[in-house]
Amino acid sequence: MTQIKHIAIKEFKDYFTSPIAYIVISIFLIVTGWFFFSTFFIYDRASMRDFFLLLPTIFSFIIPAITMKLLSEEMNVGSYEILLTMPVSFTDIAIGKFLGATLFIGAMMVPTLLYPISISFIGELDLGPIVGGYIGTILLGSAYCAIGLFASSLTRNQIVAFIIGAAICFLLTIMDRLLFFIPGAFAPIIEYIGANSHFINISKGVIDTRDIIYFASVIFISIYGTYLVMKEKN
């Protein structure tokens, strides 16, 4: 347990000792801020719904970009050997790195808390969807982090890791918009596999165990996959 903590803290700090954190957070805030507020005053509604709807798409590119280095870089530089010969298990490494990235996503979301605060000055804000929206964001973010970590375990090339991660995350995001092409019988299954509908449910303020189980299973499967890949590699 303590090993997981040390690895997670190290990964989290790493983002801030390199320029990655500042670049990614700035880009995230500029992009979401622009898309959200450019239509906000036209709709004239005191809600953050449009902000949360943006997140799955943006996350499917930003998260693989921050998780791509987690294992690929270590394998490429060779520090993977140092990591594995210290008294840590594969599980410690996978969970530690996953938590480090998830903490970073949490840190990235902190500045956006200014949005609901400033909106509450200009209109009646319904708190339910906001709280639900942030819970959904954390679940979605951690699920995508787990997928990104899995992609990073597959290759020592960070760019390949990014592309694989982004492809999986983006596919999960747009899956429920592809239902149109899918035979009726499969549609509910495909809709369940896609991440978007679950995220939208939670961000409406409806916290359903089915959605939570969905995200928990994505996280579990990806971390377990990472564990298997690492075990197979040596």
Partner: protein, 313 residues
């Protein structure tokens, strides 16, 4: 302390380590010697639990790989080849992180770091990023990394590679010092280093052990065999060859090409002959040939190494 039996590692059909057996006692400094690609690093990586063996057993203090890998990792301090450390961290932060992972108590970390920084000469570079260090400094940080938890077993993969001569002497001194209480396995391709630091040497070639002895014994076995170069003037090559062969039937005599027509050169290898120079000289003295060159090649570990690792098997 460490017992390895029948250890084998295959990579995609290529056999890097082939059924090797050896034992290491407590307090021993064992040197793994071999040419590039002989399987030294692979063997060490299996001992540290980084690679899983294809077959065979590794037992360290009664613990086995792969069942007790996590426990074994706690006993071992490992310096990988070329010490690949985390580039974006400061030396100090890096060592603190390692100390935490290795389970050193929080209030003891600072004290331990002070000891190591004076032992490995790190006090000047503690606040510098790992990426900015030269190879030698990087190696020292790697050594500190390996020793941080004061492990019972130290495994060092080419610990002196990339160091300047002064640092090499220093690191050897450190290794000798620690070796009094700890068990050390180190790999190297520098023979003088193995000779200077190790209690026992394993020579590995193509994944197999070709020699396992103390440096003194290895040298002794080399001494019983000597190589002599002899050049004669005004001699008949057939007669000379016959004469030389009549000295001892274990003598191997080869005629060498000579640039001078009047001179015949021989390469003579003697095995187990006392004072071969004297015997050969007395025989030649009986004839009226003129000796123009007569010298004994010095046999060092280098020759043994060369012989053992280049012979066709």
């Amino acid at each position: 302390m460490i017992e390895v039996t029948n250890l084998t590692k295959n990579y995609n059909g290529f056999c890097a380590v082939d059924k090797i057996d050896f034992k290491v006692e407590k307090g021993e400094i064992l040197g793994l010697l071999g040419p590039n690609g002989a399987g030294k690093t692979t063997t060490l990586r299996m001992l540290t639990g980084f690679f899983e063996p294809s077959s065979g057993n590794i037992e360290i203090k009664g613990l086995k790989i792969p069942e007790d890998t996590l426990e074994i990792k706690k006993l071992i301090g490992y310096l990988p080849e070329s010490a690949p450390l985390y580039h974006n961290m400061l030396v100090f932060d890096y060592l603190v992180y390692v100390a935490k992972i290795k389970g050193i108590e929080k209030d003891k970390i600072a004290g331990r770091l002070k000891e190591l920084s004076s032992l490995c000469g790190l006090s000047e570079i503690m606040h510098r990023p790992v990426a900015e260090l030269s190879k030698g400094l990087n190696q020292r940080v790697g050594l500190a990394h390996a020793m941080i938890s004061d492990p019972e077993i130290l495994i060092l993969d080419e610990p002196t590679s990339g160091l300047d001569p002064n640092q090499i002497v220093e690191i050897r001194k450190i290794i000798k010092n620690i070796g009094r209480e700890k068990t050390i396995i180190l790999s190297t391709h520098i023979l003088s280093e193995a000779e200077a630091t190790c209690d026992r040497i394993l020579i590995i070639d193509k994944g197999k052990i070709v020699a396992d002895d103390t440096p003194e014994n290895l040298k002794k076995s080399a001494k019983s065999e000597s190589q002599i170069t002899l050049s004669l003037h005004e001699a008949d090559s057939n007669k000379a060859l016959e004469l030389l062969k009549s000295i001892d039937n274990k003598l191997i005599v080869e005629v060498e090409d000579s640039s001078d027509k009047d001179t015949i050169s021989f390469k003579i290898i003697t095995i187990g002959l006392d004072n071969p120079m004297k015997t050969i000289y007395l025989k030649i003295k009986e004839t009226d040939w003129i000796i123009s060159e007569f010298k004994k090649e010095s046999q060092s570990l280098e020759n043994i190494f060369h012989k053992l690792t280049t012979e066709d098997k």
